[in-house]
Point group: C2
Chain length 690, copies 2
């Protein structure tokens, strides 16, 4: 038996612990910052309480889910699988909890820094708040999987345990993303419609009881939901690569090692270890980049953040290029990683183009002739934006496949997610800056404060788009890898049982039926989540209208609104409405797998990948384009069409449609295809012989 | 050599000729009807001239295309292939020409019948006008393919000639559908925006110079474009079934014949003949159903049309069930046909549900809170509407596959299209009734005339939705069959050359890359067509605004508008803008096939099928739901929200978005996947050995 080097086994754990220690230090550093006057603290308190109340209620629902699935796993796959499923889930919850706590401390402290200190210090507070989430996500992911590998690397059940861990992570991500997405957009759309249309009061006006819920939503959706999503992406990418390494037939094991003495067994164990070790290296690099960004706090915020997103791929490639030969590992690994890492960065830039450059001017101009043409143009931009990112994914996959076969594709996904901690830091920074602006407005601080927070917020919007591009690109690569891992696992079990390999020919009717069935699912998740946002927003509009009617003096600003009611309505609606789309993602692969067998399930994964990857890109980018077209008009981009003009109103309609597109349905579909693949991988051994 | 029975060879030709003779009789019958007063004739003349001018200019563009592709085919596949490619194309053009001529005679005569005779007679005129197109499409399709089969049934090149014919039909359908779709929706959206928003005058107001172009568009898009599309569907379904029968390996030839003496060769020739013979039977049945509908002219129009759409599947099943055993042919054929035929009818009913029943009430209610929520809800309805039709297609394919393997799937598509002539009759009826209403309004006829034409028009809208459901459902089945035919052809050539069968395993990287690339194409066609409509509509709005500014007295109704200018702008824009999406469909399979080989091309077809089938259903049904939600409000469906209310305006925004969705991009994507499959089938022999 090949001895895995101890530093391979330990490095993920060490990296994870270091990341978490820094997260804790930053957490207390954020909390120690001044938090402003009494009004600011009261408003921030509402937001924090609302966000935490949502999280607590969401976690209760998810506990039930975890217990049920845990019991099923206990009977189907044994106690160890059930335990690590729960651990995978709990670590996700933990990251969400700590990260959101930090974000809801950081928002008001960013406002206060903007009010009393420099823009650089305000940026720093927001960045630190985001980094808590970023390092928790990156640290817990690497630590958790590192622990599994350390404990079970000699167990025959390593694969099953890894899959269970990944299903735990995926399940939480699914519900957190969809529930958070419904919450944030229902509150946003509801508050907007009620405020702008029915009551005619400006955005973030303290009289509008929906504004607090809107700010809560930013945290719930873009911090907790996004965090669970990115944690899941990282876990799934690592697990898919390890699973492929575990089950690939020896003759396909690529020339991973360069030494003469390299054996197939050594290559296999190196292949199993590498994804985790490389992710540990990625975490170290991320920590360095985060500190570099902190040091550059006085530079232009947009440049700092963009640089932060682009550096990890470059550094990881450099490190691997220098270090891998020292361990006798082939440079093919470097190139596969680099294909993914640079592909991810490129996709981010393409996303930025479609959501921040010429296309948004076209959408804004289309708004001049009305809401109909604005919506049409935004949809057209979103559809067009699908092509280049998909081609980049194809090229990355092609290079990686050329270097190391299917294992290479999985490594490319690992490479794309190497900067997870940084991506998450920047993503969580966005809602903190957004909240900071809202708190400034609601507390009646002077305009120069809002100017600073607005600049920070605008940068956050762009980086959020880049982050979304990364997320969907990596999801596509990860699903490709998971898909391959699923098929290998099925064949592994079949060969062991003396059966022939599974027939996955494209013309087999089972495969074709699976493809067509799989193509339906993204549309179902899209439909249920869009409907959910519409329904929940409708309830919020009604409640806001009620408050304006029944609370005397509210319209005149003499009485306080009741934001807690809105928060409660949004929470209940989101938690209720997330169940249907969530169940589709979990139940569909299980049902198809057990009823129609692995052939149809493989087809279903391929069909939903094709539709899901493109639909989620389309929806995310169309939404981003509408959002920024509206802001473009607000900033005076269209001479003669100011804020409040008909063109602006038309652009607002586009933005309203874009809200659930980019923050609920688009991400929901992306996570759907990941969850289905992870669940399929887990049940592969149970259905392989069908 | 097995002797094909003469009645098998002759029946398609006889059926085609009979269909065409009846078409000619109905054509002259329509033309002989009274056409009303001078104003009516002048307006109808504008429409006819505009429609014919478009057709002539479109045909010039298409001639260039046909000559270029014909020359390419001459060098690649020989002179016979080139000739039959041109014949396949020319028959499509011919059907479009005659059918549109009939439709533009029938519209004003329907108005006149409504004004001076009974509703039943008005229905009859419109129905006869539609039947000319329906019988031309059905007759020319069966006759053309029948001629190929009659002449070349002993030729070794039968397959290539059939494929060439189908590519000719497909090419015309592609450009006619996309060009017509851009024209009709650019004119519709342009006239609506200019009329309702900029100039504030009602729909079909004679002062609006865009109204004539809008009425021209109905003919260009829904008669000529739809006709070419349906002609292509029928041809492609028959050719795919014949191609499978030609290339399927003998041992896979299903138990088609029941007799003891049945040989594999007899089974093969019966299998090759059946699709054409059954389509001939379908044409006979369609003729009977059309005459039945004419006889029922005084019944409720909605019932007459719905019955007409549902009868052909039932009658075809009955006829086959009784007749096939007499020829020693297995009932498996009946069940495969029935699966498709009833599946098509079911899909039509599901489409009607989503575009005419409860979902449109939900969209209308969402319009109360604004255009944003109306658009969101419509998109959600469209996404939801994908599921059931796709499941129906899967079940139909599953049954057909169970009966007769892949050949059965092709037969199911033939069965779904058995009522082609009826479907086309009902589809062409729609724009005739719509035009009749417009002519009545523009000629200032009394309100009771408009009431009758409005009722006829409303029925047409519903049946148009059913027809679209049929079209997309049959497209999906046809593409499944074409896809199988492509793979068989590739393997046929490879086996003949002593090579191994092509590897189409879902985990092969070439296949996966193809799937991902294929998933992009429907979005590109969606994007380019949506943008095209937006751009062309913008030009029309500008021209209308110019006319209102520069023509003195136009606003007061004292001067005439210049509709010809609008018609010219719409024509130029549509013909220019159709080129890019059209070229994508033709070039993509050729490029991928020759560069990446048949493995990637098969993957690409599968990827674009999964995305294209679902996207086109989504877009067609969302568009239908918005359209009817608007009409629901106009008819007073929402108490307190009349025509002109904010809710109605919000619904109009949805309708504007829905226009290119349902009549340009959705059908464009559906035809994209068919054209790519047909082109792939044609080039299969050239790339098989790569």
């Amino acid at each position: 038996m090949f001895d895995i080097p101890t530093y391979f086994l330990l490095s993920p754990i060490i990296a994870g612990v270091i990341g978490l220690v820094i997260a804790v230090i930053l957490y207390f550093r954020v909390k120690a910052q001044p938090s402003g006057n009494e009004t600011m603290n009261r408003i921030a308190g509402y937001i924090r309480e609302g966000a935490m109340a949502f999280l607590v209620r969401e976690y209760k629902v998810l506990s039930v889910y975890c217990v049920v699935v845990g019991i099923v796993l206990y009977f189907a796959l044994g106690v160890v699988a059930a335990i690590w499923f729960v651990v995978g889930a709990v670590l996700s919850l933990l990251a969400g909890f700590v990260g959101m706590k930090a974000a809801t401390f950081a928002n008001v402290r960013t406002t206060q820094a903007a009010a009393t200190s420099t823009k650089g210090n305000a940026l720093l507070v927001a960045l630190d708040g985001g980094a808590v989430m970023g390092l928790c996500v990156g640290g817990l992911g690497v630590l958790g999987l590192g622990a599994v590998y350390y404990c079970y690397n000699e167990s025959a059940h390593l694969g099953t345990i890894l899959h269970s861990f990944a299903v735990g992570a995926s399940s939480i991500a699914l519900f957190a993303r969809i529930g958070g997405g419904i919450y944030t957009k229902a509150a946003d759309v509801g508050a907007d419609i009620a405020g702008k249309v029915i009551e005619n009061i400006p955005e973030d006006d303290p009289r509008n009881p929906g504004v607090i819920a809107d700010n809560v939503g930013d945290n719930v959706g873009d911090v907790a939901g996004m965090g669970a999503d990115i944690y899941e992406s990282m876990v799934a990418a690592i697990v898919s690569a390890m699973a492929i390494a575990l089950t690939i037939e020896a003759q396909f094991l690529p020339a991973l090692l360069t030494g003469e003495a390299a054996t197939a067994e050594a290559a296999r164990w190196i292949a199993i270890s590498l994804p985790l070790v490389l992710s540990a290296v990625g975490l170290f690099i991320s920590i360095i980049v985060i500190f570099m960004a902190r040091a550059l706090k006085n530079s232009k915020p947009a440049n700092v953040l963009r640089l932060s997103l682009m550096l990890p791929p470059i550094l990881l490639t450099l490190v691997c290029f220098i270090a891998l030969p020292l361990f006798g590992i082939s440079q093919n690994v470097t190139w596969a990683l680099a294909a993914g890492a640079f592909g991810g960065a490129l996709i981010g830039l393409v996303t930025e183009f479609y959501t921040a450059m010429r296309p948004i001017r076209l959408v804004a101009e289309a708004a001049i002739t009305g809401a109909g043409t604005a919506v049409i143009r935004g949809l057209a931009v979103g559809m067009e934006s699908v092509a280049v990112p998909m081609v980049i994914v194809v090229i990355a996959a092609y290079i990686a496949d050329h270097m190391l076969g299917l294992y290479g594709i999985a490594l490319a996904a690992v490479g794309m997610l190497a900067g997870t901690a940084v991506v998450m830091t920047v993503d969580a920074y966005g809602p903190i800056a957004d909240n900071a602006g809202g708190i400034s407005e609601m507390s009646g601080l002077p305009p120069h404060v809002r100017e600073i927070t607005d600049e920070l917020d605008a940068v956050g919007n762009t980086t959020a788009a880049i982050g979304k591009g990364f997320a969907i690109g990596s999801a596509t690569l990860t699903v490709l890898a998971l898909f391959s891992a699923f098929n290998m696992e099925v064949n592994h079990v079949r060969l062991a049982a003396g059966m022939a390999k599974i027939q996955l020919d494209l013309t087999a009717s089972g495969v074709l039926i699976g493809i067509l069935l799989g193509s339906i699912l993204p549309f179902l998740v899209g439909s249920t989540t869009m409907t959910a946002v519409g329904k929940a927003a409708g309830k919020i509009v009604q409640e806001i209208a009620r408050q304006f009617k029944e609370i005397p003096g509210l319209r005149e600003g003499k009485a306080e609104p009741e934001p807690a009611r809105i928060v409660d309505i949004a929470t209940s609606a989101a938690l209720y409405e997330m169940i249907l789309p969530g169940m589709i993602a979990v139940v569909a692969p299980v049902a198809i797998g057990f009823i129609l067998g692995p052939q149809a399930l493989a087809g279903m994964l391929a069909g939903s990948l094709a539709v899901g990857a493109t639909m989620s890109l389309f929806m995310a980018n169309a939404g981003g384009a509408w959002d920024n077209a509206k802001k473009f008009i607000e900033k005076g981009g269209l001479p003669g069409h100011k804020k409040g003009s008909d063109a602006h109103k038309a652009a607002v309609v586009g933005d309203t449609v874009g809200d659930p597109f980019k923050d609920t349905s688009g991400p929901g579909i992306a996570i759907l295809i990941k969850v289905m693949s992870v669940v399929s991988l887990l049940i592969a051994q149970l259905i392989a012989l069908k």
